[in-house]
Symmetry: C3
Subunit: 268 residues, 3 copies
Amino acid sequence: MPSAISVVTLLTDFGERDYFVASMKGVILNINSQARIVDLSHAVTPHSIEEAAFLLQSCYHYFPDGTVHVIVVDPGVGSSRRPLLVSTSRFFFVAPDNGVLTPIFDNELSVEVRQIENRQFRLDSEGATFDGRDLFAPAAAWLTRGQVPGTYGRLVRDYHRLSLPKPEVHEGVLKGRVAYIDHFGNVITDITASDLNTLQEVTKYAEISIEIGGMTVRGLKRHYGQGAKDSPAALLNSNGHVEIFLQEDRADRLLQVKVGDPVVIRPV
Amino acid sequence: MPSAISVVTLLTDFGERDYFVASMKGVILNINSQARIVDLSHAVTPHSIEEAAFLLQSCYHYFPDGTVHVIVVDPGVGSSRRPLLVSTSRFFFVAPDNGVLTPIFDNELSVEVRQIENRQFRLDSEGATFDGRDLFAPAAAWLTRGQVPGTYGRLVRDYHRLSLPKPEVHEGVLKGRVAYIDHFGNVITDITASDLNTLQEVTKYAEISIEIGGMTVRGLKRHYGQGAKDSPAALLNSNGHVEIFLQEDRADRLLQVKVGDPVVIRPV
Amino acid sequence: MPSAISVVTLLTDFGERDYFVASMKGVILNINSQARIVDLSHAVTPHSIEEAAFLLQSCYHYFPDGTVHVIVVDPGVGSSRRPLLVSTSRFFFVAPDNGVLTPIFDNELSVEVRQIENRQFRLDSEGATFDGRDLFAPAAAWLTRGQVPGTYGRLVRDYHRLSLPKPEVHEGVLKGRVAYIDHFGNVITDITASDLNTLQEVTKYAEISIEIGGMTVRGLKRHYGQGAKDSPAALLNSNGHVEIFLQEDRADRLLQVKVGDPVVIRPV
């Protein structure tokens, strides 16, 4: 087994206080003590599939080829929702079929989606409430030991996707929304550099105005140091999204916005 | 040294902000740079030995054979309380003698308990306030390098146990208490499936009523999706405990309960 | 490559909820899948260079020889502030040139400071807002693969230092300040055992009085168990600093102090 395929990332809404994450790690190491487990995040808002999808999209591609990404934000655990194994050219994804893998289905050129059916990859346990430990963790660990996806279960074509609104241009105005608010209070929109390029009139980023939370921001800065402490500024962030910020302070508090709120960009 | 014995877990009340956990990890890696360190939890309520014992019990057995579990919830650090090394058929435990290992003493068929006396396993340092770094971390790291328990110190027979009340049946009624409230607000009781089986009249789990926080819950669901958003439901959770939940919401807030509050189960 | 040099620690103000830390870990593992990544802390108060410097100082030296310490508390990201690679006899440090490495410059006998200029150690990416992922992480990962500091860039002599006040004795009185408040509410001062020794009159630690937050504490205890639950006590903590504590409670709340507040020690 090449060492490159022994990285396993965990993305959950379990928090870091309880025994949930540790149980999953124990199960993985019990199957492959050489696995390198990385916490992607465990602070997803409980049951927020959209937030987990956003976080996954923002960093999964930085990991080495062969990484197994495990996502357990799973309000339907124990019901008939299917557990999925998705293979792409570089990665594996193990997650419930609830739309959390939408960015992978959208971004990756080729995906193979299977239902995890083989009981070999499931722990015997009493309850039906912790598939993170009893199903997703062992399924991922066996992948790092070289199990091939074909042994997990049948191909699935009707997997679930989130139907998130996408930014769109209407009468020369680009409309999007707040996608995420980060630890620093920066307000990340769903509008990307390529969305900006669809505003035909704009040739330079200085020539746009951004309306958000009742305020208007002119142009894009290159880095946070060019902002101000008391009025919001914007830039294209490290993932190519339009982001509104205050210099060393929380823009979300000044703007009083939350995820889903509208953002409008016009040429000026 | 077999790779299987190089996993070390850390369970503390240190939080993740300060330099305490990192210091322990540095000490361990300085002794064995091949050790695989897993955070069990660092968010134990400060000084809560009972909470640490509950978390330990909930997941220690999922780890591979040879894992060294280090527990540092240690209000008596620097006093005459003894540091212990406990060996079972599968695991090692390194912890202060304050009762935090009670679930191990209760669950494991065979335990060997030693006092850590050998000064070889202690760092020289100025203060007497951080045995996590200066004693428990090096003691654990040397185990992963093959040191045998006999070299640590003398056998101990009068080690400390917590005297927690256990669920009991009185006049056909099962009385227990709230053992833990998790990240989702689920209320985990100390009542297990085997406790339920002592209620002779009950043949099916549908035929019980659970009184908690002034409310009554009828029967047990199989998974969270079968609950409701505004009235509490119960199930046997993934560790075999009776747990009260709301579908995608916090049951602890609705019930207004805390750890230690009474739970009563009756046949109906 | 010796295994001893593959430990990488991360100290940031990124929090653990977002994709920032995971992105850095992905980048590091993509360059060296054998790297052992340790979270020093990600809960530094946003933009607090002083707090990061305090945390770094408190634990960097416990790690094995060859460890690469990466510090990303970087309010000036994207501006002209320089990225640094600092080599000492035992460690490497990768950080922005904003003073966060002051304790290393102060404590280490020999430091070699270089500007990271070589574009080979930088990811191509769209924005200029995430050098943690695009520059510091790859620069650190290549060190673990044996890249030598000389290939990173030119030597720097005018690197930035914080100008923190140091404890000083004036007319027989030692004046310092609150340096940090930990997870338990313990109040850690910047006054060390060697500072105490400059108070010539003091021969035993019992013979001092400590004024802080309008209260006076007499003498030093040896461990927390010797304190009281309702009046503050002091000790020399595990890093050799004078620390004010309450037994199993938060001294910071009783004293109503914050970082920077004055502490005065007198012989009695």
